[in-house]
């Protein structure tokens, strides 16, 4: 009996652990999110309390091997030292990679030294200081690039891109031509098949195109800055900070933050498919107006909120 394994395209999932600006409160958490893409789990930012949010949402600590830190403001990384320590106490063995601004290594190591601790796992720091977009992670299926942002301190967003996957077998065609299993990998990789008769069956007859690769751009914190548009062009999902509503737009320049409308304008210019808003100032009683204001410029707006999960 021929068993055909048809690989279902793996969704991209985004779990928001926290998406509010400045100070943690009883009802809101500072920035942290988990991106699940092509079976990779990437932790993006790590505000105070992130390890508790991870527990709350039942995300296995052992699946977190890569942590990306946008910048060294407290609401984006004060939870990192605690998470690294907890990994240590739980006798983690997997390597852990931390990508973040230059200086992050000294901060973490100083605290580990002060506590007389050392990690039983390998802890690698990939310190960033370039002002140009650069590749910081790459393997067979995913590539991660920085998105230089415009904030009060050195800050990067991160662009996560699936690589183009393999083609899918056309099960009916494969059965029709009685092609043996041994050829399946070749077909998925785009190759033709020569039958015993000498007849060549072209790949197009035997397979369907691969899934379109998904892409996710995380951009927080930043002033409105069109220079990021070429980097995030056509992404499936853009998370763009929107600290303020229009009524507080006078604060954007000084604080180097953006409004919901500005986030929408970036989404429009970059022709992204979906815009997720977040990093709301805690001054607002409701986050709905962020959507209303953004939709005056760009329609596909989603609102991040603590605990919310998005699937694409």
């Amino acid at each position: 009996m021929l068993i055909i394994h048809y690989q279902l395209s793996i969704e991209m999932k985004l779990q928001i652990l926290g998406c509010y600006a400045a100070t943690p409160r009883t009802i809101t958490n500072p920035t942290s999110q988990v991106l699940d893409i092509k079976n990779h789990l990437f932790l993006i930012d790590c505000g105070e309390g992130t390890q508790v949010q991870l527990r709350k949402h039942k995300i296995k600590f052992s699946r977190i091997n890569h942590i990306f830190i946008s910048h060294l403001h407290g609401d984006h990384f004060y939870g990192l030292i605690g998470l690294i320590s907890t990994f240590m106490l739980l006798n983690r063995e997997n390597d852990l990679h931390v990508y973040g601004p230059k200086g992050i290594k000294e901060i973490i190591l100083l605290q580990l030294r002060a506590s007389g601790s050392f990690t039983g796992y390998n802890l690698y720091f990939h310190e960033l200081e370039s002002k140009e977009s650069e590749v910081v992670f790459e393997d067979e299926t995913v590539i991660v690039k920085t998105i230089p942002l415009n904030h009060r301190v050195y800050t990067n967003g991160f662009l996560f891109q699936e690589k183009l996957g393999k083609r899918h077998l056309n099960i009916e065609a494969v059965a029709k031509y009685k092609i043996e299993k041994v050829y399946f990998d070749k077909i998925k990789s785009g190759g033709n098949v020569t039958l015993d008769s000498g007849e060549v069956i072209t790949n197009e007859l035997l397979s369907f195109p691969p899934d379109a690769p998904m892409s996710y751009a995380f951009c927080s914190d930043t002033l409105y800055d069109e220079s990021i548009v070429p980097i995030i062009k056509d992404v499936d999902v853009l998370y763009h900070e929107s600290t303020f509503l229009d009524s507080e737009m006078q604060y954007t320049e000084k604080t180097k933050h953006a409004t919901a409308k500005e986030a929408a304008q970036i989404a429009k210019l970059a022709n992204v498919k979906n815009l997720i808003l977040g990093h709301y100032s805690t001054r607002y009683g409701s986050i709905e107006p962020f959507k209303t204001e953004a939709q005056t410029i760009f329609y596909n707006v989603l609102l991040a909120d603590d605990g919310k999960e998005f699937e694409f």
Copy 2:
């Protein structure tokens, strides 16, 4: 009309924000507590998430002016940088004093510098490195001394002692002798009063003794160590760590922690009035056995738990 102000003795209150060892979880918090004594509010230790616990228990941030850190393990101070930052974001103006092991200043300042931040309030560090008990805070009403503890890193407990207050007016006697209000402060300070007639009324007739001063000793983290007994002798309340039950006593030496029975033994030797247990390992499903085991040695045992408030 004569209005007699009778000063009610102010209670000592202890609010437990967190009292579990090692890692913060969804259901437990690492060490932090607030001692309210003689109208002073002292924050003792500051594990990750302490600022959220303070909000949850509606403790005004502006009342916290003195923070005591026992040692530089994460579950006792990883929430400090976030609290200091939040004070900054809330435009605090009051001075803030931090008492803790040498090294704490560098850790905090390194992180403030990395975030391009500076506090708008004065931030004073009182770094400790003595292995002897020493006075670290003193004013008219309260004195705070260190209690050198025996842990894996340099650690201090803290002894908070009210000073002997003023005597209380004997309202009936004062009325009987028709003593004018102008003499009240003198009487409260222990002075006699000479009437116009020349008759001397001794202080004992006009006043009652002051309230017995309260005292609180915080001892966490530590191995069982009788050398602290003379320092904490006769205190009203001893908080002593009890990370383990007897069944895990084999871990105490390596981890430099104590069992519930060992905490009780210290309480007994020091002749304290009340023992509060805390810093429980998160391996236990219930904390009741800590009380049961401790009471085999010392009866007045109370169990700390997150959110619990004690009044003495």
